[in-house]
Amino acid sequence: MKRRSFLKVVSATGMMIAINPSMINQVLRADDGRLYKSYARVQLLNAEGTPMTEQMLETSENYVFNYPYEGTTTLLINLPNESAKDVSLKDEFGEAYLWKGGVGSRRTIVAYSGICPHQLTHINKKDSFITYRKKGERFEGHVVCDGHTSVYDPEHGCKVMKGKAPQPMASIVLEVGDDNTLYAVGVLGPDKYHEFFKSFRRELKEQFGSKRNAKKEVVSTAVAMRLSAYTQEVIQL
């Protein structure tokens, strides 16, 4: 898939946002910027610094990269099955938006914000209670946040399957470039970045030196590494 041309629009708040024209339709409120926001087009690298291609992603493995901010994590998964197309999802206020599906030759590559929309449990350097569950694990094939057992379906835009999360996990929109390498370009769905930065000032200071460092937007490249390498402890209950 080629990089799409982006249409610049001015949101209600005056903020300049880039909208992928193919996403504009009656369900995605594209002119407001709340349910889709573009960030820098960032190329994903593997742990050795090589631009990431589909082939480098082991199926069902949990990968993490920092995006769209230095202090926010994104979960990257190469699913065993093809993802669904054009899934209509709703945020907690009933606002609808459209998830277009995964990328890659089999549309299996998906990425979601590592912050749980329930009560903000998140993947961080110390521990992760959020994982994609492999075959044989409890809730296999799902993304689970063990903060309070919210279960999401990554083949359908991480819609909520179980638990009390009020809305899906925000998804990170990916593209495959001309050279077959992966890019992150924006965030679709109700993200929790504002609440996250407000709630975790002390943790961010500890892990990133300051909240300001953690809040810097990622530009150009981001390293996608295995979750077990990113975080000291992967916890599944």
Binding site: Q119, L120, D127, F129, D146, P166, K198, S199, L237
Partner: protein, 453 residues
């Protein structure tokens, strides 16, 4: 003099001062208005800004009230939401057993009502509610009267000592000398000091019958106090007198912890109801005629709905406990007063009286109230509360067990039962350690939900 609700709503704070000077009562009972009986308010309006917005008053800033205040404001932003709470700061019951044995800091349990109200755009009103006039729709507090359009009573539990004694002197002694430690604050501080200062002998804990607050907490407490004795080399033993025939929840996990970790430190006596207290000689007698001596104790009696429910005239005995809320079990509306809701541990349903239950139920009740305020024709469909309950069985490192469950209504039994239960009762090895970490993460999320935006 008796003011109407409309008149009360019109009062400014200047009027409040003037009224205070004349000593008028807003809720004086009249023969035409028997519903106002029991209202013994200040007789002056509380000093609150006057607005035309629909007013939702929530009494009780515990797990239930805090969740309802936040989410009502979120789902009905045009409402004026006022949380009335008698305490000045929040202290968490969940995880308090770990603090009692010095395994976590007090800071972890303490939270700031002002932050919760700032972040979530509602008013925190620090006062005790002493009366409810259901006809005029006014509550009386220790700091003035407040009119409401919707009222939520979420005052939690009170203790019911009646099966142990009818002697008020003995009851007072039990409350003061051997507090149960199932309401936050001084009871927990007393208990902690008792444990940390304990020298030797028997330390009695009891488990009541009925649907008492937090089913696993007495067993968790027994494990942690035993662990503390073990760690500190204290020649002490926890005697756990359980009125129930067996451990009421997470049986496998607790039983194996008692046996494998605390064989010499816990004596578990099921089916043991105390029938006699001899506090001067520090002895109790059980139904079986056993006399047990103790060096110290925390006697947990049965629970009942908070006395506020009785004051408000909305209390009724439930299948489990005395004087719980008289409500529609699906909508939480008080029977006969659909603008009043009762929630949290004061509810009569057999749900587990736990924080997670109160929080998830609170979100649902907030949706109900918001739907009315927003003029929705259809009320939100019933949602089951979710009980997620971790219990620590050891403290260094924290090892825990857990249970998750929802509820389903059984038409035949006319009662709710557990559904979709998942129990994780292995406390040893990596599983137990992960559960311990899960317990901390669970609590952090809950506190964030109640106190942050």
């Amino acid at each position: 003099m008796s003011l109407t609700r409309r008149e009360l709503l019109k009062f400014s704070s200047i009027a409040a001062v003037a009224l205070a000077a004349t000593g008028c009562s807003l809720t004086e009972p009249t023969s035409e208005n028997p519903e106002s009986m029991g209202s013994v308010g200040m007789g002056t309006p509380a000093e609150l800004a006057e607005t035309d917005a629909p007013k939702v008053v929530i009494v009780g800033g515990g797990w239930s009230g805090l969740s309802i205040a936040k989410y009502t404001k979120k789902f009905a932003p045009n409402a004026e939401v006022i949380l009335v709470e008698q305490r000045t700061e929040f202290m968490s019951c969940p995880l308090s057993n770990l603090w009692v044995v010095d395994a976590i800091k007090l800071e972890f349990l303490m939270h700031d009502y002002l932050q919760a109200s700032r972040e979530n755009n509602y008013t925190f009103f620090n006062a005790t509610v002493v009366g409810v006039d259901k006809t005029q729709k006014i509550i009386s507090t220790s700091d003035g009267d407040i009119a409401y359009d919707y009222l939520v009573l979420a005052p939690g539990i009170d203790y019911d000592y009646s099966e142990w004694t009818s002697d008020p002197v003995l009851e007072r002694r039990l409350r003061t000398e051997y507090p149960a430690g199932f309401k936050p604050g001084s009871e927990h501080i007393s208990l902690r000091n008792k444990v940390l200062d304990f020298e030797e002998g028997n330390f009695i804990l009891t488990v009541p019958s009925g649907n008492y607050r937090c089913l696993p907490a007495p067993y968790e407490r027994a494990c942690l106090i035993a662990d503390y004795f073990k760690k500190e080399g204290i020649e002490g033993k926890v005697i756990l007198l359980d009125e129930n025939p067996n451990i009421t929840i997470k049986q496998d996990g607790f039983r194996s912890a008692f046996e494998k970790l605390y064989g010499d430190y816990i004596e578990y006596l099921p089916g043991s109801k105390i029938i006699n207290f001899d506090l001067d000689n520090k002895k109790v007698e059980t139904e079986f005629g056993e006399i047990i001596e103790f060096a110290d104790a925390a006697f947990y009696p049965k629970v009942r709905g908070s006395k506020l429910l009785e004051i408000a005239g909305v209390a009724k005995d439930s299948r489990f406990n005395k004087m719980e809320a008289d409500i529609n079990v699906f909508t939480y509306e008080v029977n006969g007063y659909p603008e009043i809701y009762c929630t949290g541990d004061a509810r009569p349903m057999g749900f587990s009286k736990s924080g997670n239950t109160a929080n998830t139920e609170g979100v649902y009740v907030a949706k109900q109230i918001a739907a009315k305020i927003n003029g929705k024709k259809e009320m939100p469909a019933w949602e089951s509360p979710l009980t997620i309950c971790f219990s620590a069985v050891a403290m260094e490192p924290i090892l825990a067990i857990s249970i998750n469950a929802g509820y389903a209504y059984d038409e035949k039994q006319k009662a709710f039962g557990f559904t979709d239960v998942y129990a994780n009762e292995k406390w040893d090895g990596r599983v137990g350690k992960n559960n311990g970490k899960g317990l901390m993460e669970w609590a952090k999320g809950m506190y964030r939900d109640m106190f942050n935006a």
